[in-house]
C-alpha cells in the first residue's frame, strides 16, 4: 500500500515526534494541552509585563547603583581591571575545555548588537528644574521653592524595555561604549585563542595548573586592587561578589584543614574539628552574622579586637568560617570515598604523611567532590543576600533604597527592580550550577552506578 513514502522533512519529523511523545495516549494529550495552555498564558503575561506594562526607567537610571553602589566614579577602573582579567580567564578556559564556538559567538554577538546599536542615540535622564511658587493664604503671601524632577527619554527607534536592557548590560560600572565593545571583543578573541592555540596542550598538566593558579590568584589580586578605596564605598553587586569571593576562597582552605582534622590520628585534633563543625552548623548563618554585628566587649579582649574591625571584614570572616564548616563535611565525604588500598599503597611506598595526603589522597578526594563544593559555593553566593538583614548595602538592600528614594520618578516600579535584582543573583548561581554540572560530567563523578 505505501508505495510512495513522503520525502524526509523536518516538519514531518517534528510532527511525528510530537505524536510519539506528547499525544500518544489520552492522558498524555490532556497533560500536554494543559501544559501548553498554562505555559502560553504565563509567557503572555510575562511578555505583556516586560514589553508594555513595566516601567524600566528606574532600572536604567540606577544601573550603576545596582552594580557598584556608591563606588567613586574615578576609581571604577579598578573594578574594570578585575572584570577584564576575569573575562580573559573565563573565555580562554571556555575555549580550551569546552570549545563549542558557535553558540558562544552567537550569544556574545547578540549581546553586542543589542549593546552597540539599540543603546546608541538614546538617552535617559532626570531634568531638575528649580521653581518658586507664591502662595497666598490668610492675607499673607509666602514663597515656596523647590526642585521639580522630571524624567526625560530622548528615545531612538528602539522600544524602551530594549533600551533599558541594553544600558543595563552596557554601562553597569559607568563604563563607556568603547570599554563594553572591548570587553565583548575580548570574550570572543580569548575563546578563539584558547580553542585554536592553547587547547593543543590540553592534556599537559602545566597548562591546567597555570590557568588554575591564575583563577586562584584572581581573588587576592582583585582585593589588592581595592587598596586605597574606602570600604564604605563598597556596595551592591560588587560587595556581594567580593564577600562571596573572599569568603569562598578562605572557606575552602578552612574546610580542607577541618576535614583533615576530622580524620586525624590525634584524638584532640579530631575532637576540636568535630566540635567546631557541629557548633558552627547548629546555628543559622543569619544568627552568626547578627552576633558578629552586635558583639562589642562581651567576649573579652578577643571580642573587642574582633568588633573593632570594619563590619565588611567581620562579615567576610563569618562567611569564611561558616562556609568552612560545611565544606569540611563535603571534603570529608570525598576522603571517605577513597579506597583503603590507596592509603596502604602510599604507606607501602614509605611516603611521609604529608606526601601521602598532598600527592595521593587529596587530589583524588577533592576531584570526587568538586561538584559538591561548587554546590556549597552556590549556597554561599545566595547567602550574600543576607547582608541586607544586617544593614550592609548589598544588591538587595540597594534595591530597597532605590525604591524608597525615588518614588517621584517611577512610582511603584517594585516588580521591575526586584526582577533585575533576581536576575543578578540568579545568573551567577545558574552559571555556577552549570559549571558544577559540567564538572560532574567531565569527572564522571555521578556515573558509578
Amino acid at each position: 500500500m505505501s508505495a510512495v513514502t513522503a520525502p524526509y522533512s523536518p516538519v514531518a519529523q517534528r510532527i511525528e515526534w510530537a505524536q510519539a511523545n506528547l499525544f500518544n495516549s489520552k492522558l498524555n494529550s490532556l497533560v500536554s494541552v494543559v501544559t501548553i495552555a498554562v505555559g502560553l498564558l504565563i509567557a503572555f503575561l510575562v511578555a505583556k509585563f516586560v514589553l508594555f506594562d513595566a516601567n524600566w526607567a528606574l532600572v536604567s537610571l540606577n544601573r550603576r547603583l545596582f552594580f557598584v553602589g556608591g563606588y567613586p566614579g574615578e576609581e571604577v577602573y579598578r573594578i574594570w581591571i578585575a572584570v577584564f582579567a576575569a573575562a580573559v580567564l573565563a573565555s580562554v578556559s571556555y575555549g580550551i575545555w569546552v570549545g563549542r564556538m558557535r553558540p558562544y559567538v552567537i550569544t556574545v554577538g547578540i549581546i553586542a548588537v543589542i549593546v552597540l546599536t539599540f543603546g546608541l542615540g538614546t538617552n535617559l535622564y532626570i531634568e531638575e528644574t528649580p521653581f518658586t511658587q507664591e502662595i497666598t493664604s490668610g492675607g499673607q503671601t509666602s514663597t515656596i521653592s523647590g526642585i521639580d524632577r522630571e524624567l526625560v527619554w530622548e528615545q531612538g527607534w528602539a522600544p524602551r524595555w530594549l533600551y533599558a536592557f541594553s544600558l543595563g548590560l552596557a554601562l553597569p560600572f559607568g563604563g563607556t561604549w568603547l570599554i563594553m565593545a572591548a570587553l565583548l571583543a575580548l570574550l570572543v578573541l580569548g575563546a578563539l585563542f584558547g580553542k585554536h592555540v592553547l587547547s593543543r596542550w590540553k592534556s599537559s598538566p602545566v597548562l591546567l595548573q597555570s590557568v588554575g593558579a591564575a583563577w586562584v590568584l584572581l581573588v587576592p589580586a582583585a582585593v589588592l586592587l581595592q587598596i586605597g578605596v574606602s570600604i564604605n564605598s563598597w556596595g551592591s553587586a560588587f560587595l556581594d561578589i567580593l564577600i562571596f569571593a573572599v569568603g569562598g576562597f578562605f572557606s575552602f582552605f578552612i574546610g580542607l584543614v577541618l576535614a583533615l582534622g576530622r580524620i586525624s590520628p590525634y584524638r584532640a585534633v579530631r575532637f576540636v574539628s568535630v566540635g567546631y563543625i557541629e557548633v558552627v552548623r547548629a546555628a543559622p548563618l543569619l544568627v552568626w552574622l547578627l552576633f558578629a554585628t552586635f558583639l562589642k566587649d562581651e567576649l573579652g579582649p578577643l571580642g573587642e579586637a574582633f568588633s573593632s574591625i570594619s563590619l565588611v571584614y567581620r562579615v567576610m570572616i563569618v562567611f569564611a568560617f561558616f562556609g568552612g564548616a560545611y565544606i569540611a563535611e563535603v571534603i570529608r565525604g570525598g576522603l571517605q570515598a577513597i579506597p583503603r588500598g590507596q592509603y596502604e599503597a602510599s604507606n607501602a611506598l614509605a611516603l611521609s604523611s604529608l606526601q601521602k595526603y598532598v600527592f595521593i589522597i587529596l587530589p583524588q578526594a577533592i576531584k570526587a567532590v568538586i561538584p559538591a563544593i561548587i554546590g556549597r559555593f552556590i549556597a554561599l553566593w545566595k547567602d550574600t543576600a543576607l547582608l541586607a538583614a544586617i544593614s550592609l548595602i548589598n544588591t538587595l538592600e540597594q534595591a530597597k533604597k532605590i525604591l524608597a528614594g525615588q518614588t517621584d520618578i517611577a512610582d511603584g516600579a517594585f516588580f521591575e527592580i526586584y526582577i533585575v535584582v533576581g536576575l543578578i543573583y540568579w545568573s551567577v548561581s545558574y552559571i555556577l550550577s552549570r559549571l558544577g554540572g559540567a564538572a560532574e560530567k567531565r569527572l564522571g563523578v555521578g556515573e558509578r552506578r
Binding site: 546555628a283 562581651e298 567576649l299 573579652g300 538583614a389 517594585f414 533576581g422
Partner: protein, 397 residues
Amino acid sequence: MLARPLAVAVAIGAGIWFRNRYRHLVINVAVGGFAAAFVFYIASSVYAADFFDFDFLVEPYGSPDRSSIFPGLNVEAGDPRWQAILKGAGNTLSVVVFAIAVSTFLGLLIGVARLTPNPLLSRVAKLYVELFRNLPLLLIMFFFAFAMFRELPQIQDRAGLNGVLFVSNRGMAVPWVEAGNGLWPLWLIALAIGIVAGVIVRSRRMKQENDTGQSTHPNAWGGATFAAVAAVSYFALLLPVRITLPEVVQAASGFYSYAGGNVLKLGYVSALIALSLYFSAFIAEIVRGSIQAISRGQSEAAAALGLSAYQQLTLIILPQALRIMIPALNNEYQNANKDSTLAHAIAYGEIVLISNRIVNNEGSLLQTYFFIFVVFVLTNLVISFIMNTINRNVQVK
C-alpha cells in the same frame, strides 16, 4: 663544647617524637590544652559579662508584636521576656512546620513531574526547579513582602471569597477554630486516641491483606475509624470547638477592621510562601534523584503485573525511593528550620526578631543568643529524631 649535649638532647627528643605513643601524647596535650584554654577564656569572659545574670528575663517585654498566626503566640507588651522568647520560638515553629509540609507536597509533585515521559511537563518542572533553586531565599521573601503584597486591595474592598476568606494589604482573613466550651482539651486527647486507633486498625487490615491476598481496604478502614472516633467524641463533648468565619466590619469612627476568623499577617504569609517555593525546588531534586536511583526493572516488573502508572508510583517506586530520600530530606528540613530566621527581615515575629529587641533594649547579647542557639539545636534534634524514626521504619528489615 655545647654541641655535644645539644646533639644528645636533639637525638633524645627525636627518639621520643618518633615513638608514636609520645608523639600522640605531646600533640594531644598541646592541641587539647589550647582548646581547653580557649574554652576557659570564653567561659571566663562570658562569666565576666554577667552571663548568669538572668534577671532581665522576668522584666516586661515592652512592645507588642502581633504577627503570629496563633493568637495565643502574639507577644504582648506586658509579657515577661522569657515568655516572649518562647513565643518567638513558637512562631518560628509555626512557619517551619507548615513550610515543611507544603514544600514536601510540592516537591513530590514536581520531582515526579520531572520524570514523566511527557517532555513538556518535565521541562516545565525543570524550569521551576532552576528558577527557585538559584534565587536567594531572602529575595523571594522580599519579593512577596515588598512587591507582590503591595498590590493587594484595601480592606474596605472586601476582596476574596465573601464570608470565607478576605485578602487585603493588612493580611489574609481566614476561617479559624475557637473553643466552643471548656472541654476542648479532652477533644484533642480524643483525636489523638482516634489517630492511634486508626493506625492500629489500618495495620490489622494490612496484615490481613498480606496474609490472605484479599483486598481489605486498609486506608479506608483506618480513616473511617479515626473519623468515627472524632465525630462521636465531638458530639459527646457537646461541640467542644466551633468554626468562626471572618467578616469586614466598620466601626463608628469609620475605621475598617476584620472580625471573627483569624488574620494571617503578610509577614507570615510571605515567609511561608517563600520557604515553601524555595525548599520545594530542593526537595524536587531529592525526589528525582531517589526515584532515578531505583532500578528500571522495578517499574517494568510492576507494569508486567498489570499495575497502573499511579499504582506503580505509589506502591512500588515511592516506597523504595523513600529509603534513599529520608536522610537527604532530614538535612533539607533542618535547613528550612534554620533559614526561617530570614523571616525576621520581613517583620515576622520569629525568635530572632523578638530576641533582637531584647538585645537592643538590654544589651544581653550572650544570654539571648545562647537561647536562640539552644532553640535551634533542640528543634533540629527533634527533626532529626523524627526523620531517623521514620527512616528506621521504612528500611528493609
